[in-house]
């Protein structure tokens, strides 16, 4: 199975690899997946007073599509408000990266990681966690 050019591009030059201070109140961290399943994503966002995501970082253990999905997610998150970020759908990622059906779970994981990072940020700041509507697993 050959990878799409966009997956290769993100895989070869992943954007926003790194770590934010998970103890900071302005940082939300999402850690999703499991080593036994062959993919784990950690996605972090830094949010300013206006609810705008000023920075996003990721690290991913997984296949090329998982790495590309999280790289793309961080790229999309930067500059968005929390509310806008919540509208990112896994199918947007599938479309952008031209993921084949067997790799759709990578995009689902990326969406989960976004929501889980947002929830971590919300809970840290005394807000209620959003219900995670989608669970594809």
């Amino acid at each position: 199975m050959a990878y799409s050019e966009k997956v290769m591009e993100h895989y070869t030059n992943p954007r926003n690899v790194g770590t934010l201070n998970k103890d900071s109140k302005s940082v939300g961290t999402g850690l999703v997946g499991a080593p036994e399943c062959g993919d784990v994503m950690r996605l972090q966002i830094e949010v300013d007073d206006n609810n705008v995501i000023t920075d996003a970082k990721f690290k991913t253990f997984g296949c090329g599509s998982a790495i590309a999905s999280s790289s793309l997610a961080t790229e999309w998150l930067k500059g968005k408000t929390i509310d806008e970020a919540l509208t990112i759908d896994n199918m947007d990622i599938v479309e952008e990266l031209a993921l084949p059906p067997v790799k759709i779970h990578c995009s689902v994981l990326a969406e989960d990681a976004i929501k889980s990072a947002i929830n971590d940020y919300r809970v840290k700041n005394g807000l209620e966690a959003f219900e995670l509507a989608k669970s594809h697993h």
Partner: protein, 403 residues
């Protein structure tokens, strides 16, 4: 040195040019049907097949009449196991195999289960070898067949074939072995090893795809299998179908080359393999899978913890290898062979199989070492698990959201 480098010789091997040369006339001028008994075209083709049969027999220490040509090892596995089950069903219905067998054996056994066979799937030890005491304990008066592979396709471990055969025979059962990875790579002698039936394939030993053979013992004891393909009664009635003459000629030539060059090749390849393996295992948290004393000379299976196999292969640009990671197949389960060794799923996901071959050079191995190290380091920089490991976090204590 040309890129990409092929290090997946357990999947298939390139055709040796000398084999191709031997085959070519049988596509064109010597195109006859080996079963045409009444004209020279048939005779010439038959001669080619007869000669190939001798070449094959000589490699494994049997007589020509004990070789049945098939379309490959999968067919030979099916014919050998199903054929014995049908032929000896009055004697018993119990077959013993192991969990690390190739799918061609396992799925054949599963098929027979539906037809009333009782199958025992022996577990293997951590090093991939079966426990001979467990085998002995599993034998019953109903046991008609023990089927254990010679060398494993994923990790390369070589089972104690002589001892297994002796146990099978002691209890009146036949011994079948899928020797696809072993024949042509290490000395395999059906008499010395006590093998009653054996499957193997040309394309794993620098021959063409689409041809293989089943060895069926004719003396002490005389073994019979019922045919699984009905038709013109070729191959002494055990496998009908017009003979694939060029393929068979290629298998014969491949066997001859292996017989003549095996010793030297095995020495060279195991030295290169050891170099690859010892260099790569100097990296932190990398582990060799399978027994390292009893194994094929050209295989190394290594897990690089905290990186995922498919992602790793993508980074190992210009290297053709394979992985026990789930992501390489349509299923999400990692390699059942590695799991049979007791490897955790995450280590199974992190494994890479390097398969060296006749045309692998030292320069290529050196390149592979550097390229793999770079790829592992790159992916560990991207891996949250590696970061957590480095921070001293116990990953087994984390509640992962299983999906």
């Amino acid at each position: 040195m040309e890129l990409p480098i092929y290090l997946d010789n357990n999947a298939t091997t390139p055709l040796d040019p000398r084999v191709l040369e031997a085959m070519l006339p049988y596509f064109t001028t010597k195109f006859g049907n080996a079963a045409s008994r009444n004209h020279p075209f048939g005779w010439v083709a038959e001669e080619g097949v007869d000669y190939a049969r001798e070449q094959v027999a000589k490699l494994i220490g049997c007589t020509e009449k004990e070789i049945i040509f098939t379309s490959g090892a999968t067919e030979a596995d099916n014919l050998g196991i199903k054929g014995v089950f049908e032929m000896y069903h009055e004697k018993g219905n119990h077959i013993i195999t192991a969990t690390t067998e190739h799918k061609a054996v396992l799925d054949t056994c599963k098929h027979l289960e539906k037809l009333g066979a009782k199958i025992t799937y022996l577990k293997v030890k951590e090093d991939g070898l079966i426990d001979l005491q467990e085998l002995e304990a599993a034998m019953t008066p109903e046991t008609i067949l023990v089927t254990i592979m010679y060398g494993n396709n994923e990790i390369g471990v070589v089972q104690p074939i002589k001892e297994i055969a002796a146990i099978a025979h002691k209890h009146g059962a036949l011994f079948f072995t899928d020797a696809t990875q072993a024949v042509g790579k290490i000395p395999v002698n059906v008499i010395e090893d006590g093998i009653d039936l054996m499957a193997f394939s040309a394309h794993k030993m620098y021959g063409p795809k689409g041809v293989g053979a089943l060895y069926v013992r004719r003396k002490n004891p005389r073994v019979k299998v019922t045919s699984q393909m009905d038709g013109g009664g070729h191959e002494r009635g055990m496998r009908s179908g017009t003979l694939n003459v060029p393929g068979i000629v290629g298998l014969g030539k491949a066997c001859e080359l292996c017989r003549l060059e095996m010793d030297e090749e095995a020495t060279r390849l195991s030295a290169l393999r050891d170099k690859l393996e010892s260099s790569l295992t100097t990296m932190e948290e990398s582990y060799v899978n399978g027994n390292t004393a009893h194994r094929l000379p050209h295989v190394a299976n290594i897990s690089f913890k905290y990186v995922e196999g498919e992602g790793l292969m993508m980074a190992m640009k210009d290297l053709a290898v394979s992985s026990g990671s789930a992501c390489t197949s349509a299923s999400l389960e990692p390699s059942y062979v590695l799991k049979s060794l007791g490897l955790s799923d995450d280590l199974a996901h992190s494994s890479i199989r390097f398969g060296l071959g006749r045309f692998t050079t030292e320069e290529e191995v050196d390149y592979a070492i550097e390229n793999t190290k770079k790829a592992v380091n790159h992916l560990r920089d991207l891996s949250p698990l590696w970061e957590m490991f480095k921070e001293g976090i116990d990953l087994s204590k984390i509640e992962w959201a299983e999906h």
